[in-house]
């Protein structure tokens, strides 16, 4: 079942495009990465999903409900962390957990305190006296404390130190393994690579890729190093098209693989090689390629 479904979703700000004809399906129980450079339309997409913005065209549904008309019902089971988080300055973390718990009609204080221990946050400090990192932790606790069915996070690791990022990743993985869905907006490629099951890449308001991480990895280039067992004449070697050799020094060849690894392995099996090294898929350069304006759109 899909938790989020958008069809031809478009949101414009006057003449400027926020998002354009976005078709997206986010299945239940996955960590869905929503990647894109600044200004690509990530936050606009989230604001439409939360019912803050009315779509200019198309539709957006969460749990099967229309995001604009039934926003408040949808949010009963949604946890949300805004990208530019602002909290009530005069309140402490405890106050906010009490009040948010009262609004949600459930006790958030006990789970909130547990998470505050994990994130090393003093809940008795007023928000105005908190550092940016502390506020971000409190925002995460408020979004996670009711264990929502859908968690929407807009660049959540900003201002968090590496240890806290690690804790957050663990929390999100635990949630996903328990069947919860995480919509993770970011422009941090390594985080998405480590965490997400699926990823959509948005650029200039349009989705330019929407695939599983596995499929993306399969399409990403890898560095390949071949050490021949004896001297070979390059003219005698029938290198497959997916492998582009860019450096030759004696018996050591280096190249870039732009295709499936099994095809390379089948070919190399018949070659007189001494050693073969295939690097990790270079997602970063793949993403960079998607980010670049000249990349053709899907």
């Amino acid at each position: 079942m899909s938790i989020i479904v958008t069809e031809q979703l478009t949101r414009r700000y006057g003449r400027r495009i926020g998002i354009e004809q976005v078709n997206l399906e986010v299945p239940e129980g996955v960590i869905f990465g929503f990647l894109g450079p600044n200004g690509a339309g990530k936050t606009t997409m989230i604001r439409v999903l939360l019912g803050f913005l009315r779509p200019s065209a198309g539709s957006a549904r969460v749990f099967g409900l229309d995001c604009w008309r039934a926003g408040h019902r949808i949010k009963e089971d949604v946890g949300y962390l805004p990208g530019d988080l602002r909290l009530y300055p005069s309140m402490t973390g405890t106050d906010m957990l009490r009040i948010f718990g009262s609004v949600r009609r459930r006790d958030l204080l006990a789970p909130g305190r547990g998470m505050a221990e994990l994130f090393v946050l003093d809940l008795t400090v007023a928000v105005r006296k908190m550092s940016r990192g502390m506020r971000q932790k409190l925002g995460l606790i408020l979004a996670l404390a009711h264990r929502p069915r859908l968690l929407i996070l807009d660049e959540p690791t900003v201002s968090l130190d590496p240890l806290m990022r690690q804790h957050l990743m663990q929390q999100l993985q635990e949630l996903a393994s328990a069947g919860h869905t995480v919509f993770f907006s970011s422009h941090n490629l390594s985080e998405v690579d480590r965490l997400c099951d699926r990823v959509a890449i948005v650029r200039d308001g349009r989705i330019v890729a929407n695939e599983s991480l596995e499929a993306l990895r399969a399409g990403a280039k890898r560095e390949v190093t071949i050490r021949w067992a004896r001297d070979v004449n390059p003219r005698d070697v029938n290198v497959p098209e997916i492998l582009e050799i860019h450096h030759r020094q004696d018996r050591l060849w280096q190249g870039t693989l732009r295709g499936p690894v099994p095809v390379l392995v089948r070919w190399i099996h018949s070659q007189p090689i001494e050693d073969l090294a295939i690097g990790h898929p270079d997602l970063e350069s793949l993403f960079r390629r998607y980010y670049q304006p000249e990349h053709s759109q899907e």
């Binding site: 936050t43 604001r47 939360l50 019912g51 803050f52 913005l53 009315r54 926003g71 408040h72 019902r73 949010k75 009963e76 949604v78 949300y80 805004p82 990208g83 530019d84 988080l85 602002r86 909290l87 009530y88 005069s90 309140m91 106050d95 009040i99 948010f100 718990g101 009262s102 609004v103 949600r104 009609r105 925002g139 408020l142 979004a143």
Partner: protein
């Protein structure tokens, strides 16, 4: 009504409300004590100067006749610009909290990220606004009675006409709040919204003032909200200014509903 939202709003407004209430209480106590104490001297002085008489008439918003009696002096405590400024400032501050205050502060993302409808938030704000207004105006009435009690030589004013005055004042407070909500729902910056409300209120005050001294302004004086708040007539003649109260209440309701419709349909952008 969502209890959590009510608690949140009350927590945020109670300090400002108490400060406004105390200020009004002190001011009313002073007026209630000072004005009758010097009423005789004031009457003689004011009746000698036509200009001063007209200014007083403009301030009270109605014709004071050829006698300046105790009703006129009692009503001055309820139309003094400082009193009106306190009421208008409190109404403006509270009515521009949501949505524009939350948008300007950036906290609306967190607020509307909760399972609450925009109308739900808006209704809670109305309840808190009305309750706070009752406290402020009630404290003003208490101050007025306190000042009168300190005047041992004068009999205390009758409470019933004063109650009618404060109910009329409460209607005025609600009308100003309605204006605040509508402007708030159409704005993205709180400072701008407050400035718009303030400008309209000053214009309204000036129109009501000018209508008493400038015949050309009189035909349009009905456009001023202060035209529907005349405590002197209540204190002097008794009775209930039902039409004035209805006009102010209907105005408040219409503006509040219009603001709610705008808020429910608008886009929320904080970045």
């Amino acid at each position: 009504m969502n209890r959590g939202l009510l608690i949140k709003s009350l927590r945020e407004v109670w300090i400002a409300t108490m400060l406004f209430a105390l200020a009004l209480m002190v001011l009313e106590a002073i007026f209630a004590y000072v004005l009758p104490t010097f009423a005789d001297q004031f009457s003689t002085f004011l009746l000698q100067l036509e200009f001063a008489q007209r200014m007083l008439q403009a301030l009270l918003g109605t014709d004071i006749g050829d006698q300046i009696g105790p009703g006129v002096f009692s009503s001055m405590a309820w139309v003094h610009p400082a009193v009106l400024a306190i009421i208008a400032a409190h109404a403006t501050i509270l009515s521009t909290r949501v949505p524009v205050g939350e948008i300007d502060r950036g906290t609306i993302d967190v607020l509307l990220g909760l399972p609450v409808s925009r109308w739900g938030v808006y209704r809670c704000e109305l309840v808190v606004f009305l309750a706070s207004g009752l406290v402020v105006i009630g404290m003003g009435l208490a101050g007025n009675q306190l000042g009168a009690l300190l005047l041992e030589s004068k009999p205390p004013s009758a409470v019933q006409p004063l109650l009618v005055v404060v109910i009329n004042l409460f209607c005025l407070y609600f009308a100003v709040g309605g204006l605040g909500w509508l402007v708030s729902s159409l704005s993205d910056r709180r400072g701008k919204a407050v400035a718009v409300v303030f400008t309209i209120l000053v214009g309204s005050f000036l129109l009501n003032f000018l209508a008493q001294v400038w015949p050309l302004a009189e035909p349009v004086s009905f456009l001023s909200v202060l035209n529907y708040y005349q405590p002197m007539l209540i204190l002097r003649d008794g009775g209930w200014p039902v039409i004035d109260m209805v006009v102010l209440t209907v105005l408040g309701v219409v503006l509040w509903v219009a603001g709610g419709l705008c808020f429910a349909r608008r886009d929320i952008c904080t970045v």
